[in-house]
C-alpha cells in the first residue's frame, strides 16, 4: 500500500466529508431538523460534544479510504465512487430503520438519504482520484548509448 497517497486521500476525504456535512446537514437541513427540536442537543451542549463529531468524521473518512484502497486495486474515481455508493446504501438502510423508531419527518429522512449518497459518491471519487497504487510491474527501457 502506498501510505503517502493513502494519507493524502484520507485527509482530502475527511476535508470534503466534514465540509459537506456542515453545509448539507448543518445549514441546508437546519430548518427541517428544527421541526423536531426535542431530538437535538442544545447549541451549548452540541458545542461540548463537537470533538465527538470531528472524531466520527475522521473514522468515517479513514475507513472509507481503507475500503477503497484495499478493495479497488486499480483505484480510479469511477470504481471508488461505485463502491462508495454501495456503502451509502448501507447508511440509507440504517436511515430507514432510524425513521421507523425515531420521530423524524419524511423530509429529514429524504434529506439524510440524498445527503449520504452525494457525500459518499463524491468522497469515493476523491479517494479514487488521489489513491492510485503504483503498477506492479514496471518496465525500464535502457537508453541506447551513442
Amino acid at each position: 500500500m502506498d501510505w503517502k497517497k493513502f494519507f493524502i486521500a484520507f485527509v482530502a476525504a475527511f476535508g470534503f466529508i466534514f465540509l459537506f456535512g456542515f453545509i448539507w446537514y448543518g445549514k441546508l437541513m437546519h430548518g427541517a431538523h428544527q421541526e423536531v427540536p426535542t431530538l437535538w442537543r442544545t447549541e451549548a451542549d452540541f458545542g461540548n460534544h463537537f470533538s465527538t463529531l470531528v472524531f466520527g468524521h475522521i473514522v468515517m473518512a479513514f475507513f472509507l479510504t481503507l475500503v477503497c484502497a484495499r478493495f479497488v486495486p486499480g483505484g480510479g474515481p469511477g470504481a471508488c465512487a461505485t463502491l462508495a455508493i454501495l456503502v451509502a446504501l448501507i447508511y440509507a438502510g440504517a436511515d430507514l430503520i432510524t425513521f421507523a423508531v425515531q420521530p423524524l419527518t419524511t423530509k429529514i429522512l429524504c434529506g439524510w438519504i440524498v445527503g449520504d449518497l452525494i457525500q459518499f459518491t463524491i468522497a469515493g471519487a476523491i479517494i479514487g482520484a488521489i489513491y492510485k497504487p503504483a503498477p506492479a510491474h514496471t518496465t525500464f527501457v535502457k537508453e541506447r548509448s551513442p
Binding site: 465527538t52 466520527g56 475500503v67 463502491l83 440504517a94 430507514l96 425513521f99
Partner: protein
C-alpha cells in the same frame, strides 16, 4: 446469481432476527431510558415495514460490496468487510451522539450489537457466496 440471492436472503434473515433479539428484547430496558427520543410503540409498529425495508437494503448492499471486491476471500474476507463497515457505522454513530442527547451507554451497546451483527453477516455471506470460478482468477 443463485448464490448471490441465497446469500442475500440468509443475511437478511439473520439481520432481522438479530435486530429483534438484541435491540427489541435484550436492550429493551436500555432503550426505555431514552424514551423521549423514540416513537411510541404503537406508532413504531405502524412503520414496521420501514425497518424490514431498511434491513433488506442493508443486507443487499453488504452482499453487493462483498461480491464486487471481497469474494474469493471466503469467510475471512466477509468478516473483514463486516468489521470495516461496522467501524464506518460507529463513525456515523459518533456524529449522532454529538447532535442527539443519547446516553453514551446506549450507543456503546448498539455498537457492540452492530459488531456481532456485521461479523456474523460476513461469515454467512462469505460461506454462501462463491464467485464464478472462471471469472475469479485473482
Amino acid at each position: 446469481m443463485k448464490r448471490f440471492i441465497l446469500a442475500f436472503i440468509a443475511a437478511f434473515i439473520f439481520i432481522f432476527l438479530w435486530g429483534w433479539l438484541y435491540n427489541g428484547v435484550l436492550l429493551k430496558d436500555v432503550f426505555a431510558e431514552a424514551q423521549s427520543l423514540f416513537r411510541p410503540r404503537e406508532e413504531m409498529m405502524g412503520l414496521f415495514h420501514w425497518i424490514v425495508i431498511g434491513q433488506a437494503g442493508l443486507a443487499l448492499a453488504f452482499v453487493m460490496i462483498y461480491a464486487s471486491g471481497f469474494a474469493g476471500g471466503g469467510i475471512a474476507a466477509g468478516v473483514r468487510l463486516g468489521i470495516m463497515l461496522e467501524i464506518l457505522a460507529i463513525g456515523a454513530r459518533c456524529a449522532i451522539y454529538a447532535t442527539q442527547p443519547f446516553p453514551a451507554k446506549l450507543l456503546v451497546l448498539i455498537s457492540i450489537g452492530g459488531f456481532i451483527e456485521m461479523i456474523v453477516t460476513g461469515v454467512i455471506v462469505g460461506a454462501i457466496y462463491k464467485p464464478n470460478q472462471s471469472l475469479s482468477s485473482s
